[in-house]
């Protein structure tokens, strides 16, 4: 629960003063270069002003000087923990604008990759969250499994982190002959490991004491701020772009949308946001298994256009990235490069709610709350 203001609890004879504390830009728990300007009353936070832009690489400006296919590798570098999702969103937006129907095999492979990416991204979120709070062991457990996912990406397209795999209209490579077998093996190994992480971290009393009832985000506030993804679902609303605004072939699979239930505290606290991610990984496993089972044959490059010159107009398309609703707004003037590209980055939007969440908590809780929002500075600053 938020602490009462120090000013109210002390006698008026004691002189108190607000203090401004800079957290970052080089603070390990800020997950990148982020500066938080904390206004403190004693150890209690009364205001948080985030300062961003340290990682600004002019993505949107660069796009205007490049052709449409050249932009794909740049999208990787926004949310660098989930590049497959970024490419997926861009490809969907462009295909909507161009009116391309991609082969079924491509759709299946894209969904498999996006869900594997969700697992690997959530593993980083979980591991680093534990490490922020002081539990270092789960971090290593998570990274072992993440490594296995990266190996799967490596045999698919040669790259481990920045893939340039999902192209407009197709894919850069077909699957490796061993991919299906290795992925099924991975899922078989991963499920017991996930249980182990749960035992080590999720239901650990110390972890629960640090996260439950901390940083409660009510649904109305979340929607008003535009918060999306696991942060929104942690507040107890079943809202997922894969369900609400279906894209690709997600309607063919059977999976649940986990939501926060306030198991150890209040609905929408840091623990709920954390635990939604744990549950989502299991759902991703289900989707991957179904997709691998139904995987059709076909040519993954047959629909890639030779020359990309979309009609004059604009398009807005979005996907459910591990961090939430990732949107691309593209305006075409009929030439081979876009007139304007705007990315609605989920972390950029979620980050704004930080001030609301941190008010009244201790400085150490700022780390907890920031970790539970799971931001990636690469996509905030673009």
């Amino acid at each position: 629960m938020p602490q009462d203001s120090v000013l109210n609890t002390k006698s008026s004879a004691v002189r108190t003063e607000e203090m401004v504390l800079n957290m970052g830009p080089q603070h390990p728990s800020t997950h990148g270069v982020l500066r938080l300007e904390l206004t403190l009353e004693g150890e209690i936070v009364s205001k948080v002003v985030p300062h961003i832009g340290y990682l600004h690489r002019c993505f949107e400006k660069h796009c205007e000087a490049m052709t449409y296919p050249q932009i794909v590798p740049y999208t990787d570098r926004m949310d660098y923990l989930a590049p497959m999702g970024n490419e997926f969103g861009y490809a969907i937006a462009m295909e909507k604008l161009l009116g391309i129907q991609v082969p079924e095999r491509v759709e299946y492979i894209r969904v498999i990759m996006a869900e594997l990416q969700r697992i690997s991204s959530h593993l980083v979120a979980l591991g680093t969250y534990g490490a922020d709070i002081g539990a270092f062991t789960p971090f290593l457990y998570c990274f072992i499994d993440r490594e296995k996912v990266l190996n799967l990406f490596e045999i698919t397209c040669g790259a481990r982190l920045l893939y340039n795999y999902i192209w407009i209209g197709g894919l850069s490579h077909d699957l490796h002959p061993d991919f299906v077998r290795k992925t099924l093996e991975f899922i078989k190994e991963f499920r017991p490991n996930l249980k182990e992480v749960n035992d080590l971290l999720s239901h650990n009393r110390i972890f629960i004491d640090r996260t439950a009832n901390v940083g409660i985000l009510p649904i109305d506030t979340a929607i008003n701020y535009g918060v999306s993804g696991p942060n929104l679902r942690g507040s107890g609303i079943k809202w997922d772009v894969r369900r609400e605004d279906p894209y690709s072939i997600y309607h063919k699979f059977d999976y649940d949308i986990p939501v926060g239930e306030g198991k150890y505290g209040t609905v929408g606290d840091s623990w709920d946001r954390y635990y939604v991610r744990v549950l989502e990984m299991e759902e991703s496993c289900k989707i991957i298994e179904q997709a691998l089972e139904q995987l059709p044959d076909g040519d993954v490059q047959s629909a890639i256009p030779k020359r990309i010159k979309p009609p004059v107009g604009h398009v807005y398309a979005r996907v459910e990235n591990p961090r939430g609703d990732l949107g691309y707004f593209i305006i075409s003037d009929g030439s081979t490069s876009p007139y304007r590209v705007k990315v609605r980055a989920p972390s950029f939007v979620s980050m704004q709610v930080l001030n609301e969440l941190c008010k009244g908590y201790m400085v150490a809780d700022v780390v907890t709350i920031l970790g539970s929002i799971d931001i990636v500075l690469g996509e905030i600053d673009r």
């Binding site: 600004h56 002019c58 949107e60 929607i223 008003n224 535009g226 609400e244 305006i331 705007k342 609605r344």
Partner: protein, 162 residues
């Protein structure tokens, strides 16, 4: 769930004096064009009207159009309860780009508007904290996403083109 035409009709009935227009010639979504200084009132109505309930601002982006001497702002709205969407657009004079803020309606608009100010120089009237956001606070060489932007030679004594 309502179509763009129905939403347009509801808005027209409630704002008879405003200059509203629906553009349907796009290859994808339709756009509803609204006056820049009334967008706050229109947004509030869109959010609170019981048959519309646009409770979420998905995206807000600035766009420069030097040929028409205009700066535009696109709003992508969505109703999480009624599941419909709409795209709004306002255009303002490039030499005096002023748009009413919608931060009172959707708090999430705050940083989006700051970004549009930072990169396009669009002034959002009554915005609570209109500062640069992605560029350095002391950047005085203009607004980078404008089409006629040119890099300065020096920033704080450091050479910019490399």
């Amino acid at each position: 769930m309502k179509k763009a035409e129905e939403i347009f009709q509801i808005l027209k009935d409630n704002f008879p004096e405003s200059n509203l227009e629906l553009k349907n010639d796009q290859p994808t979504e339709a756009i509803l064009i609204a006056p820049p200084l009334e967008i706050d009132k229109i947004s509030l109505f869109l959010r609170d009207s019981s048959e519309l309930l646009f409770d979420s601002l998905m995206n807000l982006s600035g766009v420069d159009d030097p040929k028409a001497l205009l700066l535009s702002v696109y709003y992508h709205l969505e109703s999480t309860k009624l599941k419909h969407k709409i795209t709004l657009k306002v255009s303002t004079d490039r030499n005096k780009p002023e748009v009413s803020t919608v931060t009172e309606v959707w708090k999430g608009a705050d940083w989006h508007e700051r970004e549009a100010y930072d990169l396009f120089g669009i002034i959002f009237l009554n915005h609570p904290d209109l500062r640069r956001i992605l560029m350095p606070y002391d950047w005085d060489a203009g607004y980078p996403l404008r089409k006629d932007y040119e890099n300065p030679e020096f920033y704080q004594g450091m050479k910019v083109p490399y």
